[in-house]
Symmetry: D2
Subunit: 317 residues, 4 copies
């Protein structure tokens, strides 16, 4: 593998973000054996603008698992002198800040902020962020750092407001913890190894037709996120397969942003299609299951067992 790099003449970094965009994961075994320079080239960006963290961690090799590698990087960062640790925090971009808009931040941050929709703020929302960013920076002397991939817009604002009330010492620790979370997600995308870092969660569903005692196939389902009490944004759409499930999770392969969601099942359409006679309007037509996600790295299985006149749900597994 390493030799291959030489042949292709690509840099270590290029190997991981090839032109065609598909990230190629690098085996942990290679990371354990490659020269420090390549190690830093590959993992330097895991901590924003702070390749020194990877350099310090290189000495701690080999690592058995990617979790061990993450722990090693965090330990290296935590072991640094205070001014350096502070500089690490200071090096992060502001959420929805000018830097973000002007593309002056690391590629990873751009992608991550986009996930939370921070690249699509209205003028007033943008202004609000600017104000909070300014207030935060003047109070703590660093930008507000949050692992945005783990938040919906509502929970993000809530966290921002709460942390503005925090005391400096607590806030330093909180900010560093968020930096470590960001690092874990980036590492999970970069490194191939057994023993995952548990940086991704899942929302899945399953529709059962309890009149016929079999999975309900062909049920249109939509997942929306409640941005505010009334406003919702669509997240995913799917149709149940022969097993009553969706072919892929409604959210998967990434943290499930903390927030309130609603899965809407087109149950009435399903019952009409299989020939059941329903009143007009039907007792059950579009069935909404509303639930909150508090743990982005967990699996939220939200099944629906239904007849035209009854249904039940629960957090399954």
């Amino acid at each position: 593998m390493f030799g291959a790099v030489r042949r292709t003449g690509r840099t270590a970094r290029e190997r991981v973000r090839p032109k065609h965009g598909v990230a190629m994961k690098i085996p942990l075994t290679d990371l354990n054996t490659m020269p420090e320079g390549d190690f830093v080239a590959l993992l330097g960006a895991v901590f924003e603008h702070a390749p020194w963290v990877a350099r310090a961690a290189a000495a701690r090799r080999p690592f058995d698992t990617v979790a061990g590698l993450h722990a090693g990087l965090c330990a290296a960062a935590a072991a640094a002198p205070d001014d350096l640790r502070r500089a690490l925090l200071a090096g992060h971009p502001e959420l929805a800040g000018r830097a973000a808009r002007d593309g002056m931040i690391a590629a990873d941050s751009i992608a991550e902020q986009a996930v939370a929709g921070l690249d699509r703020l209205s003028a007033s929302e943008y202004a609000r962020f600017e104000a909070m960013n300014a207030a935060y920076r003047s109070r703590f002397g660093i930008p507000f750092i949050l692992c945005v991939g783990r938040h919906g817009r509502a929970s993000l604002l809530k966290a921002f407001e709460e942390r503005l009330e925090s005391d400096p010492e607590t806030e330093m620790r909180t900010a560093e913890a968020e930096v470590f979370r960001i690092a874990a997600i980036r590492l999970g995308r970069l490194v191939e190894a057994d023993g995952t870092l548990r940086t991704t969660g899942r929302i899945s569903t399953h529709v059962l037709d309890t009149v016929l005692g079999r999975p309900a196939a062909g049920v249109a389902v939509e997942l929306v996120e409640a941005v505010t009490g009334t406003e919702t944004v669509p997240v995913a759409r799917a149709v149940t397969n022969a097993d009553g499930r969706t072919d892929v999770p409604l959210i998967g392969g990434r943290p499930v942003p903390i927030g309130v969601y609603e899965i809407r099942f087109a149950l009435g359409d399903y019952h009409r299609r299989i020939g059941m006679r329903l009143p007009q309007p039907p007792f059950l037509d579009v069935v909404p299951l509303r639930f909150g996600v508090a743990a982005p790295e967990e699996h939220y299985h939200v099944p629906l067992a239904a007849t035209p006149w009854s249904y039940q749900t629960y957090r399954g597994s």
Copy 2:
């Protein structure tokens, strides 16, 4: 009783709609025995601007039940010559029409149209009704007649549009059937007798705490009606009592307007109050049960049996 009237010196009509507004019901037995004049005075308004219906029905007395009385009135109307029957229909006010706005229609109609919110139309909604009324009148030569108490605004518009496509003969029968329904509701309010007319329905609920195996007391519930896909209007608010029920039905004592409703249960608040530890946000916080009502005279019991992680509902009894 009749003598009493003389003593009070009130007219028969006054007896039923006393100044202080509380309707006093008149016993069927009295209606069976009183002079035709009083009978007509009391029931003349049951058919809009058509006391002749009551007069014709007076001869058919006595009636065993209020249902029998209603049948007698309808039979009298149906037995009339076509031009008179047509005049009966023509005598009705337009829905949300100028007459309604200018208070030139019977008191009952004013109250009934208010129920459907037709007295609170926006200018554009009002214009739309005006247009449909005009189209209907030019096509069928009578105003559009509907027992509005049995409809939500959405189902009312749907019915209006469908009936505009109908053929004249069918439409005459449909309009007359609606007149009879209106009469039944007015009669139910006026007459006291065994054997109701089944002119009222009900929406009720019941909350069970299946963690503790007992009714959930103190749960705030709200009933809203879906006016459109997204817009809802509040209908009723209540808090569950010690038996997990609301002291009075969320809708009762009148037809349940055809439409789509949602009962929203403040389940998270309940669980927090009884001391359960919940994640933030909780998996279940405000639980919406959405259901359609197709039969205004039926009972829709929509219970919720829940834990912080599961719930079920069904159309109960």
Copy 3:
């Protein structure tokens, strides 16, 4: 009323247990005003062979409620000197003892012991009771006293074995508490007054057809009690009415004996009768709901909401 007694010439006792067997309840107001002699004649048997309790309580009249009357009687018993209280306990018959078999105990006790089936013991069961009675009497110097109406045979034996291990002082209090419970039930049968004593519980059910969204009528249900792990005895049979309920509770008007019960629903027969096609054998045919009763004075509502392929139950209200 009191005069009436003189006229009929019946004794006070006769008034309450007339020949034709239907117990006539005596109003609390009468008990409050009648001569002490009649009061004692009527309530003397509430405490087994101890009319002195009623006599002592007579002085404490009047009582507002039957609960107050019960408290007054218990207070009178508790205020008596130790030897008298001990004699009160000693005066009780042994459970399933020779006295019971030979009819030498109070009528109430005979009826009460019959409820628990203690009048139908096998020779070996009878021998077991004799042995436990002997062991208990030799250890505590009084017969084993238990409010049998509150126990199934299994829980009765369990209580017997546990109390054999108790210490004398605790056991005296326990025995007296049981005497008070027995008194409450007897009083509830004798006296007519507002504010019941809560001496009765209930087992009820409700069957919902969640395929059709309406109550399931005509479902045969059977209540059995689990005497042992495998052996059961039938307690009640019924068929659901139009509302999906049984016309009377499966158990009611008396304490629900502590124990394990099973309601068996002939669901398959119901589904076949309403014309649903079922496999042979059906997925759900006779559905057993097994549950335990720990509080004889409470209401156990155990509903079934079912389709041919699913069902749910919960302790309702």
Copy 4:
């Protein structure tokens, strides 16, 4: 592979049933290419005492799937002259017959009859079978043939009694169909190939703790089969794992015998173990889910979602 056989010097038959008892499956590709003699040696026993069926089918090779192979064998049998087809049926052993007891039947039949417990009949049950076998043979001139692996004892007796009432022609077809089913199961055990024959079903379960919103681990479950209305025989025992499931299906890898089953969940023990306070006796202790199996080749997933006061089940997937 084939060469390997030569080297080991084992016969084709030995390859499939090695001394150490573990059946080694033979790839379909080998069956397609091997000499007719080996093909017959390997598959001759699929049709009881009728290697001629395999010989006739050999000419029809190659087969794409094991299902195709089965179809080929059945076609070969069906294409044979009537007397030969009749001889094929006549060659089968009687159910629970003397031949079975005296070990004079094919090894496969012995194993298959053991599954249904026909090798453990009481004297009276044995006598009953003898009588039915005699009646059947005298009526149809062949032994009663049934794919016993697909039946519980109750359904087996039911089928026996019904078929005794059948007419000869229908019964010949029914018997042959059973022979084909037996062949399918034997073939599934012998041949390794893609595209299974669907000769096996499954009973599985899943326990959800809806108080905590997670799988219930460590719940003891027992599967019993109802032999008669009251008598049951244990089939399997297991304890749920961290995912609330059993590590292996309660029944799997074979047809699920037609019959009535009960899964019993030690729910009370589970709730006590996780520290919930329960009354004595608990409302829910051992929860029985009773269900019927009509399709031996299907998957019966019977989950339990429960709290100490409620539960629900359905046929899942």
